[in-house]
Symmetry: C2
Subunit: 244 residues, 2 copies
DNA sequence: ACCTGAACACCGTTCAAGT
DNA sequence: ACCTGAACACCGTTCAAGT
């Protein structure tokens, strides 16, 4: 009992914890990303994770960081020609969306990490603001322009990934019936026909791919930003769009 | 023992459940909106709620519905003059944001109810699509135009309300230190200076109120939609903005 | 019809104790 | 330094049973 001491497994690495968490995320969804599940896959018990992470929130924030890093959004370079700031910003938006789509519920994970805390995202925002500033926006409006684009990406992706979150649920119609009855007081009773219209709307949208839909809105926003840009260069201070 | 039968409290009303849930939401945040807490405030036990609701998700969806209804977004009327579709759409966006801001974490609650399920929201989307269609967009692009605006509202409000979610956390610096050390492998070590820039960015933004910031982005988007609108009326099919 | 009691299968988190 | 065992204070949900 001197040689051949205890096997003493190598300490688990924080990076490995995050990667396992992402595996679970993709395979089973965010709600299954639990400390117990992560720990068990690492061959360890749940409390062990508290040695490496302050709490679960910190783990999620690192997940967000790694998602963005794997998608290389931290390697994005400023545009060679500053005059192409608008198309560059559109490209940033595309990269960001792609990053969020690279993992199941990626939008929720990254959004769950508060904006200022997801460091790779903060870096990107800083870079983008700097570029728009150089393009001619003043300080405040440079941040605003970037914010509009980022917010659109958030909103779009979160809606895009909605419903793809939890596991496919089975619709038990008998319970739904009781529920529906109970809610009729609060619901407009004439919602039936609207449902048909909604379905028609969905069909209309189906003529375009999600990429195309995203692209159209992005293009509209970029166009708007360009207009604000030239307006800001012409007039000095006030710019509110003329005509209602 | 014939007169004076059991007190038999009146059945709880679904509407009352939702209102209590909203009270808890505002007072203590979404994470405290639990079935047990709601039930206890109603003088009832948690399983009783399952008589009136299929599950918690349904409760949340009704919360979303009531939030929007209380903010009267279901009373929004089409514009008198169809030519003012753009400013009307901007007003819809303002109303929607106001509705989401009317309760703590309102954005998350309404976003949590899948888009198609929050009936009052679906109604609004239908109305808005109809209006943009009448304004001259074809079917698909009418929906897209509305989608851009709605997505911006989502993204903006969710970021606006982020951090205002959970209770104020106490920063225990000793645990944070261990954590920071563990994460240094994955983090760029030169993040310190960027943090300063981020702070500067926040200062820049502070010169504007949240309302003004929202307004600026909204205006940019509306401007962009107008441009797409006239472009679509001129050329028939293809519209990609010229110049990068 | 509407609600309770008791249980089930989970969570995140803490902390003394082990090695 | 790094991990376990056991516990704490919760969750949502089910279901037989009460009234």
């Amino acid at each position: 009992m001197r040689v051949r001491a205890k096997p003493k497994r190598a300490p688990i690495e924080p990076e490995a914890v995050v990667r396992i968490a992402l595996e679970i995320l993709d395979a089973r969804g965010l709600e299954h990303v639990t400390l117990r599940e992560i720990a068990s896959r690492l061959g360890v018990k749940a409390p062990a994770l508290y040695w490496h992470f302050k709490d679960k929130q910190d783990l999620v924030e690192d997940m967000a960081h790694v998602i963005l890093k794997d998608a290389r959004i931290d390697e994005i370079q400023r545009p060679e020609d500053i005059h192409s700031w608008a198309e560059w910003l559109a490209d940033v938006a595309r990269s960001l969306r792609k990053a969020l789509l690279s993992h199941r519920e990626g939008g929720r994970v990254v959004a769950g990490a508060a904006f200022g805390r997801a460091k790779s995202l903060a870096s990107l925002a800083i870079l983008a603001s700097r570029v728009t500033k150089e393009a001619g926006f003043d300080d405040a409006h440079a941040h605003l322009a970037v914010g509009v684009v980022f917010d659109y990406v958030w909103g779009y992706v979160i809606e895009e990934q909605a419903g793809f979150g939890p596991e496919p649920e089975d619709q038990s119609p008998e319970a739904a019936e009781r529920y529906k009855e109970a809610m009729e007081s609060v619901l407009p009773s004439d919602f039936g026909p609207q449902m048909k219209i909604l379905n028609a709307a969905v069909r209309d949208m189906d003529s375009l791919t999600p990429d195309e839909r995203f692209e159209w809105g992005l293009q509209a926003i970029i166009t708007g930003l360009k207009a604000e840009h030239t307006a800001a260069k012409r007039g000095s201070v006030k710019q509110s769009s003329p005509s209602a």
